[in-house]
């Protein structure tokens, strides 16, 4: 068992994971036991100033044991997989559980479930080795150098990683769930030698062959060249065209607001004043639909959660109307709802438009084009208000055309409130593993101060 996960190219198979969960379950004398086995293998290559700075690979397999006595529960984990360590881990979890007070919200472990079949494991991603990564990085750096030549010697920094992972959940009541997945991600920041221009591009996918290193290098450098010597416009409310990567930075922040318990308890923007939730009400523009679905070929998410609960398609917002909130098993039972698992478990997609980012720019009389965002932090949970900054390419749009580079802005804006000020929504595209996002054109986006950062 150990040699399988140590140095082979692949993560634990269904059979290997099941054998390990059975071994651990057999060590437990608790009323109920849950075993989670996670096995992963990652390789990465990091570069700066046009050269590789570090590269690494790691493999790990860990076992988490959750035991229950009556209404008492605790968990313990280890990545040391010999018999003695597994036994020690089961014993430690059991000791902790016996000492824990009774949990009035404890739900019994699940028995056997059925899951959607999701094929998220791509061998080309799992097999991406150090030589192939170095070669891809070299191609991306060359493309950036070529595309940025008019600005001089482009400083290219970036990161390429490829991960393979498998997860299995088993309970003493007969549940067994297994899923394996891969993801690859390449991003590049290109900076001009005069220090006034910076561009960025990224692509992520389950399938490495869907990532085009040259295109990423080229786009990053083109943005760097175009963003040189940015000009200042005063902070204020401007129409903003958010590229799909910028939308990917903001929309998942709605996940917390989708928590049904918080809404029921009166501490969410989806709480109804005086009690209850806003399910059934229009909460954003009617062109917007937000959903999670592990079986969607564009998302390919994990079809179960940490307890082994099946994750199915959940439409959170349909044509502007709040349709569903996320419910844990305990809260669902208490409220007479179906449990959903956590909101991002099955990936996240925002859909509703057909136009390209270019068409959204063409339809803008005056506004700010945003490449992506940085350092986003919550300001007020009542409105999902966030603060953050634009980064690596902000541009002024005038009469449907990009006219000049702009200094970066700090902004204070809410992904929820802004979807009520939607001018246009673009065609959704895969932006990262498990994300399908469009460009958006938002009226009166609140840019609050200028940043000198390039």
């Amino acid at each position: 068992m150990q040699s399988t996960s140590a140095s082979g190219s692949f993560v634990l198979s269904r059979e290997e994971a099941q054998a390990l969960t059975k071994r651990v379950l057999s060590l437990s004398a608790a009323d109920e036991t849950r075993v989670t086995v996670t096995s992963e293998r990652s390789g990465n290559t990091r570069f700066a100033d046009g050269g590789i700075t570090t590269s690494g690979s790691t493999s790990d397999t860990s076992v988490t044991v959750t035991v229950t006595f009556g209404r008492r529960r605790a968990s313990s984990s280890t990545n040391v997989l010999d018999e003695a360590s597994l036994k020690r881990t089961v014993d430690l979890a059991s000791r902790l559980a016996r000492l824990a007070p009774e949990d009035p919200e404890l739900m019994p472990e699940l028995d056997a479930q059925t899951y959607s079949t999701v094929d998220a494991f791509v061998t080309a991603t799992a097999d991406l080795d150090a030589e192939a990564r170095a070669e891809a990085v070299s191609r991306a750096i060359s493309a950036a150098s070529d595309a940025g030549r008019e600005a001089g010697a482009i400083f290219a920094a970036g990161f390429l990683e490829a991960n393979a992972r498998s997860i299995a959940v088993a309970t003493s009541k007969g549940l067994f769930a297994y899923h394996r997945t891969t993801d690859a991600d390449l991003s590049i920041t290109a900076r001009t030698p005069d220090g006034t221009g910076s561009g960025w591009a990224r692509a992520g996918a389950r399938d490495w062959t869907a990532v085009d290193p040259e295109a990423i290098g080229r786009v990053a450098a083109q943005k760097a060249v175009a963003s040189r010597r940015p000009e200042e416009i005063p902070p204020g409310l401007y129409t903003a065209v958010l590229e799909p990567q910028a939308v990917t930075d903001l929309i998942p922040l709605l996940a917390g607001a989708l928590n049904g318990r918080n809404a029921d308890e009166g501490r969410s923007p989806f709480s109804k004043p005086g009690g209850g939730t806003r399910v059934g009400e229009k909460v954003v523009d009617e062109r917007v639909t937000l959903y999670s679905d592990p079986a969607d070929p564009a998302l390919r998410g994990q079809p179960f959660d940490a307890e082994g609960l099946p994750i199915r398609r959940m439409v959170w917002i349909e044509k502007g109307i709040l349709r569903n909130l996320s419910y844990s098993r305990f809260w669902a039972e208490k409220q007479g709802k179906q449990p959903t698992g956590p909101p991002l478990a099955g990936g996240l997609a925002l859909v509703g438009g057909t136009r390209s980012t270019g068409e959204l720019i063409a339809g803008c009389a005056r506004g700010v084009l945003v490449t992506h965002f940085f350092y986003i932090r919550a300001l007020d949970p009542r409105t999902v208000l966030q603060t953050g900054l634009t980064r690596d390419g902000a541009f002024l749009i005038e009469n449907g055309r990009i006219t000049k580079p702009l200094k970066n802005f700090r902004w204070n804006e809410s992904p929820l409130l802004m979807l009520n000020r939607l001018e246009d929504i673009g065609r959704s595209e895969p932006t990262a593993a498990g994300r399908l996002m469009p460009a958006l054109r938002i009226r009166e986006f609140n840019f609050t101060s200028l940043s000198e950062a390039v």
């Binding site: 150990q2 040699s3 996960s5 140590a6 140095s7 570069f47 700066a48 050269g51 590789i52 700075t53 570090t54 590269s55 690494g56 690979s57 790691t58 790990d60 397999t61 860990s62 529960r73 605790a74 313990s76 984990s77 990545n79 040391v80 997989l81 881990t89 000791r95 902790l96 000492l99 824990a100 007070p101 949990d103 150090a130 990564r133 170095a134 070669e135 070299s138 400083f155 920094a157 970036g158 990161f159 990683e161 900076r191 910076s198 308890e265 940085f374 350092y375 932090r377 300001l379 007020d380 009542r382 953050g388 900054l389 700090r410 204070n412 609050t448 101060s449 940043s451 000198e452 950062a453």
Partner: protein
């Protein structure tokens, strides 16, 4: 030639005695827990891994074997929401071939697997030669043999779990006594890391790091509003004695009353105010606007694709020339500080812990460095050693430059926060950490807090809410006109400072005193449309 395993153990015991006498890091006299020696199996495998790396062509190699244990207890109101105890154990090997780094790691502690990791690291080093821009050169360091442990009186992992749960539930019960307070979360995160580092240059050190992180947050609801308050219970590199010293059950009612009071607080009028920051807020501003800005890897662009670069660049234009703040501003980096989160005896390259000034009398003086960075600024600073800032979050992550404790040193006069308030005509005082955000070159930041007070005519006249301050780093620090004295010094910190790709976390402390900043922009963060 390296010593045998038996020699290692003997040498280790000798070095431990020398450190216990206080020669290396000035251990607290109250310390009662001795530093453990390396696990013999770990030493044997680490030695063989080094040999395998050298045989495969590495000109330099280091091996870290780490055992990381994390116990967490989380509670809400009258129940425990989670109890867990996790361990992670494995080996990571870093190699240099023709000046290129490679790194590989494994959780399987067998001869075959760790040897395979060594070969893989060497092959990664070789693959990196295809895109090499600069040859890595390491600043010299004398080989060292020894052991060290965080100075503690009581190992937090040895405290019975029922005592910990009782403490948290008593804390919650006290908070729930306050009218309007409906939700309370409290928790404990307790960490113990045992790390053995061997290098091909002969270093062999084993360190045991112990850290504790208590937490408390509550929420009061009233009408259509809800307001939360989080107490700033700084995580520390200390034992259970620190958790006890906080008296969480005795203080929780007072903390919870602040959440209820916030419901009634006046929403701030946006504008320009003199800003008084208590150390419970200022430590994070130091972290973001000084700590990260003075990391040499950022200044050189190595972090450009993720955490960002720095306005404190290029080094040749900044060292000795950049005015960061007023003449009474001194900022010290320090990995020798007792009780701090990044306190160690040696870093992850075996470099002895160091203490040095980043900013002296308001002028920028030096960066944070690792061995490979020294040559990049040596001619500018005259410093020929690494400052010992190499760190990896785990056995499965490669070490790189991470922030040491970075602290604002107290002023000479014994000024308290009350003295600063008494001297302020129109201002806002902020306690504890709220929301925080800063740009990728560390110019523009915006921070919030947990409790806000209006100051008028030298007095606190009432509570405010919806407050954030926004400023530019150099404008902000140069507007500082008053700081507290030695009696007002307090150490904050965080477990989870992220940097690097793949992202790694680092634990770091920041000591500081209260301070006043003139004419700072205050925003109102409430928004309804």
């Amino acid at each position: 030639m390296r010593p045998t395993r038996r020699d290692f153990i003997r040498a280790t015991a000798g070095a431990a005695a020398a450190i216990a006498a206080g020669s290396a890091v000035g251990l607290a006299s109250a310390q009662t827990v001795a530093a453990p020696a390396a696990d013999p199996l770990a030493l044997e495998l680490a030695n063989e891994t080094l040999d395998a790396a050298r045989s495969a062509g590495a000109s330099y190699a280091d091996v870290r074997v780490g055992r990381y244990r994390r116990q967490s207890i989380a509670t809400r109101e009258r129940q425990v929401s989670g109890v867990s105890d996790n361990e992670s154990y494995g080996l990571g090997v870093r190699t240099l071939v023709d000046g290129c780094w490679g790194f590989a790691s494994t959780n399987v502690m067998t001869r075959g697997s760790t040897r395979q990791a060594a070969l893989e690291a060497v092959s990664l080093s070789k693959a990196a030669r295809a895109a090499q821009k600069r040859r890595v050169e390491l600043a010299p360091v004398s080989p060292v043999v020894g052991t060290w442990i965080t100075p503690i009186q009581r190992d937090p992992l040895e405290v019975p779990i029922e005592d910990k749960i009782a403490l948290l539930l008593a804390t919650n019960e006290a908070a729930l006594k306050v009218k309007g307070v409906r939700f309370v979360n409290s928790g404990l995160t307790l960490l113990k890391e045992v790390k053995t580092l061997l290098t091909s240059e002969g270093t062999n050190v084993t360190q045991t790091m112990i850290r504790v992180g208590p937490s408390f947050t509550c929420t009061a609801t009233g009408g259509a509003d809800f307001q939360s308050y989080e107490e700033e219970l700084a995580p520390r590199g200390m034992g259970w004695e620190y958790v006890e010293s906080l008296n969480m059950p005795g203080n929780a009612e007072r903390w919870a009353a602040l959440a209820a009071e916030k419901l009634m607080a006046r929403s701030v009028d946006a504008g320009s105010y003199d800003l008084i920051l208590e150390p419970t807020n200022l430590w994070l501003t130091i972290h973001e606007s000084i700590g990260h800005a003075t990391e040499l890897d950022r200044a050189l662009g190595e972090e450009a694709n993720y955490a960002g670069t720095s306005f404190v660049a290029p080094p040749e234009k900044m060292i000795g020339s950049l005015r960061y703040g007023p003449g009474f501003m001194n900022v010290q980096a320090d990995r020798t500080q007792d009780g701090s989160l990044s306190g160690v005896a040696w870093d992850d390259e075996g470099v002895p812990a160091d203490k040095w000034l980043l900013i002296e009398a308001g002028m920028f003086k030096d960066y944070q460095t690792t061995r490979e960075q020294v040559a990049r600024i040596q001619k500018l600073t005259g410093v020929t050693r690494s400052h010992g800032c190499s760190f990896a979050e785990s056995w499965n992550a490669v070490q790189f430059q991470r922030m040491p404790n970075v602290s604002l040193l107290p002023g000479e006069r014994d000024v308290s926060v009350a003295d600063i308030v008494a001297d302020t005509k129109r201002g806002v005082l902020i306690r504890n950490r709220g929301s925080w955000s800063i740009d990728h070159q560390r110019y523009n930041f915006q921070f919030s807090g947990q409790a806000f007070y209006e100051v008028r005519g030298g007095k606190i006249v009432g509570m405010l809410k919806d407050v954030a301050y926004q400023a530019n780093t150099l404008t902000f620090w140069n507007s500082m006109d008053m700081i507290g004295g030695p009696g007002s010094y307090w150490v904050g910190g965080a477990f989870n400072d992220g940097k690097g790709e793949p992202s790694q976390i680092n634990s770091v402390s920041h000591g500081c005193v209260p301070a006043r900043f003139r004419n700072v922009t205050i925003l109102n963060t409430a928004r309804s449309a």
